[in-house]
Chain length 333, copies 2
């Protein structure tokens, strides 16, 4: 096999078949995928959840992860946020002619490595190769099916009086990608928070906590999640600015560049709306996970501005935390 | 809203949210999608099938369809080929900055129009906008979940003595895309066969026919399907060359350019391996569908070359029909 991807490897013929076998099936094979059918035959699903995400991140490899790991985490996390245990994933890859084969293999290995954290399998896939210049490197789309382990988690379940918790310090993914893209040399090892969140969610559910809503704070960051929740329910959410956990590295990049940490993307950080009585146990559980020692109760569903998010400063002033707008960072995920 | 897509519309913030609401939710909305959760909550699935496909076709609009229609047909057909009724689709779109909004809306309308042929819903989606030059126009990835209405359809079920049938004349999609791309003015109205195949499969199953294997002859065409079947089972498939239905328009393009019709892609044509006793009824059923008057029994699982496909010419000579190789037509689907 050549060292770079050729158009022939996307032809539906011999070379395409060989690529699929030697890269994808070899690393990701399992009883279902190995059947090589057009569609994977699955066992009965009692309470399925279903989601999809495309990944166009640049650079493909970044501190704390790569597009392969990200594509598994991103899709599995969307399932976890509905209280669903990830089970089956599909993997669709669009590759630019000339892409290095060893890079592709490295990405596929990352996918393989991340799957067990979710107890998930790749059961269906597609590979397209497009001519040089029609895609930048490689894009991945992963869809996922999970089994809901807890009913009634959802935006509409958020109630006045709910506590708002974040699972760790925010903004790492956005700041790390920005730094990597700009070739910034940082003194500290700032890494993306990119991680699978099902283990955290499973632990919360096992402990008997029933969150009202969960959401990973990806594109648009914490601000997008809170605004979506406030707007959808026409409720006000009040957040204490000084309670929002932000690492020194992320704060430094934000101050340097004039970013708002709450607008930065995360890929392994989630927001919880839950009964205030559940907060102490939830924090205790979250603390056992990487970065979880920064888990914080940051606010509450209350206040005088329905549909809006209010930020209370430590000096007693208040302002709206609006939806992020503008270009922010393209290709952050 | 501007007339062309902006990077801000992929930011995860206000503009992104507005695009999703005004284009995707407006046209494709349903009870499940409208909940706006990270993952769609579905009812129990007794015998699920799951598949994915990315679509990178150029041009986006072609005689007989567009990338929107194609993305629904392609994914639903993969389900239908496993005897599964399409139910739930996800829709992930990567859009180039500057893409025309009215084109996007036209594509979304096509998606909407094709869904009822499969009785399917879009229940989950993702929208990414990437900077100019990092994707050529728009790529779509659709994944699908179906319910199997018939067990035991699959490559491994193919047996010696099985009849091989094609559902209509072959090569239309490949020939139509080639002609469109080269700006060829054809006297006749050559159109892609792009169509949803679940209605045909449902009719076959309802009539009590249990095919051993079904496969839509997409990239790599008829040749790829037959070679995959022969190779996977280490069986020989013999095909009568003169029985393969090819329209005059497609034959004309093939002769002009030195293509093999059996290598050309199809997007609404499938191959059946079934009990020879079922062939007359299967042909009668297929004839009722567009192009189905050309449905033909073209060969049989028999012969002396395990793992190979043999083509018998009308003059008594025989040759192997090999896997397609080389670049063929990039971005055919």
């Amino acid at each position: 096999m050549k060292k770079t991807i050729t158009l022939a490897q996307g032809n539906g013929g011999a070379e395409n078949h060989a690529l699929i076998k030697e890269i994808f099936w070899r690393h990701l094979g399992n009883e279902i995928l190995d059947r090589g059918e057009d569609a994977a035959v699955l066992e009965a699903l009692e309470r399925p959840a279903f989601t999809t995400d495309s990944f166009t991140i640049s650079p493909l490899f970044f501190p704390g992860g790569d597009i392969g790991k990200l594509s598994v985490c991103g899709t599995c996390n969307d399932l976890a946020m509905m209280g669903a245990q990830p089970r089956y994933l599909s993997l669709s890859v669009v590759i630019e002619e000339g892409f290095e084969l060893r890079m592709l293999e490295k990405i596929v290995r990352s996918i393989k490595k991340e799957l067990p954290h979710n107890d998930a399998l790749i059961v269906s896939g597609d590979t397209k190769v497009v001519p040089r210049g029609t895609v930048d490197g490689l894009f991945i789309t992963t869809s996922g099916i999970g089994e809901r382990r807890c009913e009634g988690i959802g935006i509409s379940q958020i109630q006045p009086g709910d506590a708002i918790v974040v699972s760790r310090d925010i903004g790492r993914h956005g700041a790390a990608i920005f730094a990597a893209r700009e070739g910034m040399e940082l003194e500290s090892a700032l890494e993306s928070d990119c991680a699978s969140l099902w283990p955290q969610v499973a632990s919360l559910l096992e402990a008997g906590i029933k969150p009202h809503a969960l959401r990973d704070a990806t594109r648009g960051g914490l601000a997008a999640v809170l605004n979506e929740w406030a707007e959808a329910n026409n409720l006000c959410i009040e957040v204490e600015e000084e309670e929002i956990p932000v690492s020194n590295e992320v704060r430094g990049i934000c101050e340097l560049l004039g970013f708002e940490p709450a607008f930065l993307a995360n890929e392994g950080t989630f927001v919880l709306a839950l009964d205030p009585a559940d907060v102490p146990l939830a924090l205790e559980i979250l603390e056992a996970f990487p970065g979880g020692e920064e888990a914080m109760r940051i606010g509450e569903v209350k206040g005088d501005y329905p549909g809006k998010v209010v930020l209370n400063s430590p000096w007693g002033t208040r302002r709206f935390l609006d939806w992020p707008t503008g270009e922010l960072l393209p290709r952050i995920c």
